[in-house]
């Protein structure tokens, strides 16, 4: 299975290595650097590379490459999924997954890697189990640690691995028992030049933050489960109950986790909340072009559109932009050629508009591409998944319960 892992930063330095079997020389990474060079864009490095004696499987997360070395046949997704799980765990422990953070906590990260794999095969990947063995750093603990000289290694042996709910640690205690669920729906859409929808769908996710004492058994039911077309669950969800009753029954992990991902059935038409009127033209004759974009609300069901942001990737030939925005601010990054227009709240009375001229080199090729991000608070769509109730069994206290609904743009793109 997984033989070794190298963490490589943006500029190509290996700053952490871990071997689960015998040591493999760093020089194996040269094949990767070669491919990295060739790909230009770090996103375009092939995730799987073949070298004479090894296979390299890598992921790119947070400007870091996680590069694993494999010697024999293994399902590539197995490795990729595991590497992402490593990145997730680091993020979970330290709040972010970046070079600086990993370097600062290099011993903890190394220990984590030691626990996560045994002989290259995943051993403990549940964050609750890991946290029992290696405690995540907190400010208080780091102060105590410097004073007493103790470290983050748990002094009790973890029991989580032994239980049949490995995702939950035993003996959880809170004074405030609370369970919050965020139902986040993302609109993925491609709009074409004239504004008609080429493709649109709604993907949803239920993010949970559960801080409950003991071993609660929760049941979450929905008003309209028929909306759900395709779902995937956290392993804690009892699949049989879902099959037969369409309720989510589970013993939750402690803390934050993703309970469920779902796809809203395509029978329901997706209401696109905004429209975009755009014209960008480059003059054949001179080194300039014009840009004019207007954005307006459409099918918002009376809700306001917030955090509206438009990102435009300009062709390489665009040198600079001289624009005026009626609302919000815009920035144009000269190196990456990305124009970002931060609009904020969308005002239906006075539609935001961005217009002006672009200075370009003579040869223009390609069209700019738009990516929009926007956020709508509360229930927006008629066909939004609604939670009807949450019940708890197995514990006596009454928890605080809360559900928040949010609709935002996922991969929302306007073509030119």
């Amino acid at each position: 299975m997984i033989h070794s892992l190298f963490l490589i930063n943006h500029s190509g330095d290996i700053f952490l290595e871990k071997h689960w079997k015998s040591v493999i020389s760093r020089s194996v990474c040269d094949y990767f650097f070669e491919a990295r060079e060739k790909a230009v864009d770090p996103e375009n490095v092939p995730p799987v590379l073949q070298t004479p004696h090894h296979y390299l499987i890598s992921i790119y997360r947070g400007k870091l490459f996680f590069l694993s070395v494999i010697q024999t046949e293994v399902a590539p997704l197995f490795v990729i999924e595991f590497l992402h799980r490593v990145a997730d765990t680091i993020q979970d422990y330290f709040g972010e997954c970046s070079e600086g953070i990993i370097k600062d906590n290099i011993v903890t990260v190394y220990e984590l890697l030691e626990e996560m794999l045994d002989n290259g095969f995943p051993l403990a990947t549940e964050s609750n189990v890991l946290k029992e063995m290696i405690r995540p750093p907190t400010i208080l603990r780091s102060v105590v640690n410097t004073l007493t000289g103790s470290s983050n290694v748990g002094d009790t042996l973890p029991t989580g691995q032994l239980s049949n709910v490995p995702w939950r640690r035993a003996g959880v205690k809170y004074t405030n028992n609370e369970a919050y669920f965020d139902v986040i729906e993302e609109i993925d859409a491609i709009l074409d030049k004239s504004g008609t929808t080429v493709f649109a769908e709604i993907q949803g996710v239920i993010e949970a933050c559960v801080r409950l004492t003991g071993m609660p058994d929760l049941t979450l039911s929905f008003m309209n489960p028929r909306l759900l077309d395709d779902v995937s669950f956290h392993p804690c969800v009892r699949f049989k109950r879902w099959e037969s009753e369409r309720v989510l029954s589970f013993i939750p992990p402690d803390g934050n986790f993703t309970l469920m991902n779902y796809h809203v059935s395509s029978q329901n038409l997706v209401a696109i909340p905004v429209y975009v009127k755009q014209s960008i033209s480059f003059f054949e004759t001179g080194p300039c072009g014009r840009l004019d974009i207007t954005i307006g609300p459409k099918q918002t069901m009376g809700k306001t559109v917030e955090n509206m942001m438009v990102t435009i990737h300009m062709p390489k030939a665009v040198l600079n932009a001289n624009l005026t925005a009626t609302q919000g601010t815009y920035t144009y990054d000269l190196t990456t050629k990305v124009l970002v227009w931060d609009i904020g709240k969308l005002n239906p009375q006075k539609l935001p508009n961005l217009r002006g001229s672009l200075s370009t080199q003579l040869a223009i090729s390609g069209n700019p591409r738009y990516i929009m991000t926007l956020k709508l608070s509360q229930l927006m769509l008629v066909d939004c998944l609604k939670v009807s109730r949450l019940d708890m069994y197995g514990e006596k206290y009454k928890p605080f319960k809360g559900v928040k609904y949010l609709t935002k743009a996922g991969k929302f793109q306007v073509r030119t």
């Binding site: 290996i14 494999i70 046949e73 997704l77 190394y110 990737h313």
Partner: protein, 1116 residues
């Protein structure tokens, strides 16, 4: 105490060993003096007595290791801390040991005794971690010690230690392959383990050590299938991949009949579209050619174990782990019957939302799948549309999938999509798009001209790369039919002035040379221009210029003789030897001299032979001989350690090898700790509930028992069983009826149960489960009885009533209220009485769990058998209820296939209004097949179901033989998703296929439910406004009495009557089958046949349609 003394001993010992070790190595000290010094202070810290200093030192050392710096010279100083009491230091020492033991074998031996002691520790976690570190130390000398430790750990009480033993097996194997035989014995033992914790790890060990010993799996096959859903996700991947290979060796190809069928009806082949598919079938046919006669006579029956695997892996498609989803997808692709493979498409499409690396791998696999099974992904075409933000490698893969999915019907949308891609900034992607257009054009004849025109338009694109790529593609397309397109060739000839990309220039020149007869005037002129610029051209262009010259010389030597000679002279002195070679060769061939041999006579034939058009095919063709999802498939090359996916056997090996004797399981059970036992039961459960699930109507009751067993993992067992009951009643308005339903069922089962002695019903239950093998039965009974005793325990332990107290009070009140408020109308009266009696019973076991342990087991015992009792009952439900008029007499028959179009076969169907047992969300459709022909019809089955998204079909079982003049019946289920969309499918016989479609009247999309008048009014009150539709009507003369109205309404829609106090009103209630939305119908009659029809339905569309249907029924 003993440990600390040992520690002191060791400390003394190792330091004496350590120091001379350093003495040996003066170089490190001399040259890297600063290094040496730094390590020196680390050594000092390690030698100190303070744990905090040791810890600090170890942290710095581990940080060095992590950064890849060499810390091996500290080995002696570190290793003596292996017995340190501070667990944090110890852990870090372990980390160090595992990293450097291989390099310092002798010193590493010093630590072994600590681990050996650890292996005997009473704490299972310490035993496990000792074994883990011991086995990770790659020192050959300790192989025997490791072997012993593994063997011992393999029979440890703790499953966690056994898991660690399984992990240690491949470690030892890689250290010393000689131990294989002994290790296989351990693997065999661990494979028999029944805990989910061990299963994944041992299969991983099996795969690494002895993947060829498939015989070890036989006995454990069923167990692994059943455990699968509870194994941790990484183990699932390994097990599924292994089982795929296993199934390929043990079961028959489920698609064997289909390939034979196609052989019989050659005319229909085009339906399957792509040429590749046909080739494939051809191959398959040849493969099967030896045994067709036999296979034809003996229709394929799927091995129940094969089915078990497919059934138990399917829920894992819902996993959050992409690797698990992919593993199940490849299992289905390789093992499932054609009709069932479709289920994986949705899950794979879901993965496309994940990280780009995941997308990359999934798209590669989808690309391979689309070549074989295009129909599967066609509904998800739009999910493969390309976003400008995708990385190029993803874009190219999506393009590949889109191209594979293209067919006559969707090509126009795909081409439109391609057109927008051409405008992209990403040049590689644009080039790939143009290639893709070319492939669509070659594969789909209808659009060839359109594509060609589109590509020609691209020739005037501003971007040279686009033009160049188009030229290359056009060249390939023109080769297919050059006669028609001389104008395009002319157009391209003009391009030679501007276009600079060598590949494109070369392509144009080749085209002109090849088809110089079509452009006789232009060709020599092009050659003239090229001759002029010859020296400045790229090599491939030069070669094509020589070719062009040669071809023109042969066809039109008068005009081009001199030019050709000029070109050949230039080439003669070219720097590139290929070009010089080519020039010499061509000169000899075409210019007749006395020396030239017989070959020059044939020069024209050689150069202007008709060349076959190139076949543009997908690079993913035939990749599926690699197991999908594997590294080898991704690389399209065999990776080390890849296990070939075997071909299906011609005849199935003996299935009885998988039978397990019951005896084995008994001692295992007693060995397990109580926790494991629970786990086991949880594992047994899916199997148990599955087989019950097949008998549909029990599902709601089933879920109750389900939740009870589910809760075993968490809280007190009885608790949530009753809990689920209380949820429903608390849920309020919406679920009120459900509750009622539930109650009714409960009541029924109670009634039955009262009549029957407990033992009897228990045995009945087991006899009903026909498929089950005897040993399973007994095992289950075992588990039943075990669960009782288990519950007994937990019951007595947990103080039961706490959580319910608050809830149950309200509950009881509510229930009582409901019971009291029931109106004393005639038809229900009897029932109410029963219900009330029931109520007390219900209250007893739901809300007042008896404190004494004797009572509860009886309860659970009963509820187990209740499920089966209910099975028989619920069918008669409608008949029993006096308010419902059984509509069986009024069932309307629809024609599915007419005798004439069906060439003798006629099919009728009706909506039987019976609950469809395999799936409660489906509408049962009863089909009647009549064979009016003179010959027998064989293998009647359905195929190629085309549905609106969300709809599902459960096919009727294949009818093997329908003799002439005979009639047969079958039932299928369709989940219409509460819409009146038709379900289209093909009805296939052994020779013919007929397209048919079933469209349900809206009234059949619901099932009757029982409501009381009050409930009805309450529900109606909540479905006002938009959800209410009212129509005035005049009743048909024949149906002015109540009976007639009821008759007509229930015929039009599958509703049940709601008792009603007034005789002026008739009320009906039902729920839609899929979404269980309430449907309420009221017909209020007035004088003179005037009436008012009111329909309340959450689904407005259903409501509107229903109003129309009922109006029609009442006014006719």
């Amino acid at each position: 105490m003993s440990a600390s003394s040992a520690f002191n001993d060791e400390k003394g010992g190792s330091s004496s060993v350590g120091e001379p070790e350093y003495g040996h190595d003066p170089a490190s000290g001399g040259i890297f003096s600063s290094d040496y010094k730094r390590h020196d202070d680390l050594k000092e810290m390690l030698d100190s007595n303070k744990d905090s200093l040791k810890l600090e030192a170890m942290k710095r050392i581990v940080a060095m290791i992590a950064r890849g710096k060499n810390a091996s010279d500290l080995f002696p100083a570190v290793v003596k801390n292996v017995a340190c009491k501070n667990i944090e230091v110890k852990k870090l020492v372990y980390v160090y040991l595992v990293r450097y033991a291989e390099e310092q074998q002798d010193l590493a031996l010093l630590s072994i005794s600590t681990f050996q002691r650890g292996l005997k520790d009473p704490n299972q976690l310490i035993r496990a971690s000792a074994l883990r570190v011991l086995s990770s130390i790659r020192v050959t000398i300790i192989v025997p010690i490791m072997m012993l430790a593994i063997k011992e750990a393999a029979s440890d009480m703790s499953p966690y230690v056994r898991k660690t033993a399984a992990h240690a097996i491949p470690k030892l194997y890689s250290l010393d392959p000689e131990q294989k035989d002994q290790l296989i014995e351990v693997i065999e033992k661990l494979l028999a383990d029944k805990t989910t914790l061990v299963a994944g790890s041992v299969v991983m060990a099996f795969e690494e050590v002895c993947p060829e010993r498939i015989d070890l799996i036989h006995k454990n096959y069923r167990k692994l299938c059943n455990l699968l859903i509870d194994v941790e996700e990484w183990g699932q991947v390994v097990i599924i991949n292994m089982l795929t290979r296993y199934a390929r060796t043990q079961f028959l190809n489920p698609n064997i009949n289909e390939s034979l069928l196609e052989e019989g009806s050659g005319g229909d082949k085009t339906f399957y579209g792509s040429d590749e598919d046909e080739d494939e079938d051809e191959e398959e046919k040849e493969k099967n050619a030896e045994a067709p006669a036999m296979a034809k006579r003996k229709p394929y029956v799927m091995d129940p174990d094969h089915r078990l695997l497919l059934r138990n892996t399917k829920p894992l498609l819902q996993s959050r782990n992409a690797a698990v989803v992919m593993a199940v997808a490849q299992l289905y692709f390789h093992l499932a019957p054609k009709a069932e493979v479709g289920v994986i498409a949705k899950a794979l499409v879901r993965l496309l939302r994940s990280h780009s690396e995941v997308q990359y791998v999934v798209l590669q696999n989808v690309a391979t799948m689309t070549i074989k099974r295009r129909g599967m992904f066609e509904p998800y075409l739009k999910s493969f549309y390309i976003r400008s933000t995708d990385p190029t490698q993803i874009k190219v893969l999506k393009l590949e999938v889109l191209t594979n999915l293209a067919n006559e019907t969707n090509i126009s949308t795909i081409l439109r999509e391609f057109q927008t891609y051409i405008k992209s900034m990403d040049k590689d992607f644009v080039a790939a798009t143009i290639q893709a257009i070319g492939r669509c054009a070659t594969n789909i004849g209808e659009v060839r001209d359109t594509c060609l025109n589109g590509l020609v338009q691209l020739l005037s694109n501003r971007d040279e790369l686009v033009v160049a790529e188009s030229v290359v593609v056009i060249k390939k397309l023109l080769q297919m039919q050059p006669e028609k397109h001389s104008d395009i060739i002319k157009h391209m000839a003009k391009l030679t002035d501007n276009i600079q990309v060598p590949m494109a220039r070369a392509s144009i020149l080749w085209l002109i040379g090849e088809y110089c007869e079509h452009v006789p005037k232009i060709a020599p002129d092009v050659l003239r221009k090229m001759a002029k610029s010859f020296t400045n051209e790229e090599d491939i262009v030069k070669l094509q210029i020589i070719n062009l010259a040669a071809k023109l010389y042969l066809t039109n030597s008068k005009q081009t003789k001199l030019l050709t000679q000029y070109v050949l002279n230039l080439a003669k002195y070219d720097q590139n030897y290929d070009i010089r070679d080519r020039a010499r060769f061509i000169r000899q061939l075409i210019v007749p001299t006395e020396k030239s041999g017989a070959l020059s006579k044939y020069a024209k034939k050689l150069f202007l032979a008709l060349k076959p058009a190139p076949v543009l095919e997908s690079p993913f063709k035939d990749r599926d001989h690699f197991q999908l999802g594997s590294l080898s498939h991704l690389l399209n090359a065999k990776a080390g350690g890849y296990q070939e996916l075997p071909d299906w056997p011609e005849a199935a090996p003996d299935p009885s090898v998988r039978n397990v004797e019951v005896k084995d399981s008994v001692p295992e059970w007693t060995k397990c700790s109580s926790r494991e036992k629970r786990k086991e039961k949880k594992v047994e459960k899916p199997f148990y509930s599955d087989s019950e699930g097949e008998s549909g109507p029990t599902e709601s009751a089933d879920s109750e028992s389900d939740s009870a067993s589910g809760s075993e993992s968490g809280s007190g067992s009885e608790e949530s069983g009753s809990g689920s009951e209380s949820v429903e009643s608390e849920e309020g308005s919406e679920s009120e009826e459900e509750e009622e339903d539930e109650e009714e069922k409960n009541k029924k089962k109670k009634k039955k149960e009262l009549k029957k002695p407990v033992q009897e019903s228990e045995s009945e239950q087991s006899s009903e489960e026909e498929e089950r093998k005897p040993e399973r039965k007994s095992k289950q009974r075992k588990s039943d009885s075990e669960s009782e005793s288990d519950e007994e325990e937990s019951e007595s332990e947990s103080s039961q009533s706490e959580s319910e107290d608050s809830e149950s009070e309200a509950e009881i009140k509510k229930k009582k209220k409901a019971a009291e408020s029931k109106p004393p109308t005639k038809p229900v009266k009897k029932e109410n009485k029963k219900e009330k009696k029931e109520m007390s019973l219900l209250d007893l076991d739901d809300f007042e769990p008896a404190p004494s342990p004797q009572v509860t087991p009886v309860n659970t015992f009963l509820s187990n058998s209740l499920v089966t009792d209910l099975e028989g009952l619920s069918l008669s439900d409608t008949v029993l209820s006096p308010a419902t008029i059984a509509p069986s007499s009024a069932l309307k028959n629809y024609e599915l296939l007419h005798r004439i179009t069906g060439e003798g076969l006629s099919v009728e169907y009706c909506f039987s209004r019976q609950p469809f047992s395999p799936d409660a969300n489906m509408v049962a459709v009863q089909m009647q097949f009549t064979n009016n022909a003179t010959s027998d019809t064989k293998n009647l089955h359905m195929e190629d179901v085309k549905l609106q998204s969300g709809m599902r079909v459960k096919e009727f079982p294949e009818i093997e033989l329908l003799p002439a003049g005979e009639t047969a019946a079958a039932v299928m289920g369709i989940d219409f998703c509460d819409s009146t969309q038709a379900a289209n499918f093909q009805l296939c016989t052994h020779t013919k296929k007929f397209f048919v479609s079933i469209q349900p009247p809206v009234g059949e999309l619901m099932r009757p439910i029982f409501l009381t008048e009050n409930e009805f009014k309450k529900e109606q009150g909540q479905l006002m406004g938009m959800n209410e539709i009212t129509e005035k009507l005049t009743l048909d003369a024949k149906c002015r009495n109540e009976h007639a109205i009821v008759q007509r309404v229930t015929t039009a829609a599958n509703l049940s009557r709601v008792p009603c106090g007034s005789d002026k009103e008739c009320r009906f209630a039902g729920r839609t089958v899929t979404s269980s939305s309430l449907v309420l119908v009221t017909v209020a009659t007035k004088e003179e046949g005037a009436a008012q029809l009111t329909v309340n339905c959450e689904k407005m569309l259903i409501g509107t349609m229903l109003v129309k249907d009922i109006l029609l029924a009442l006014t006719q």
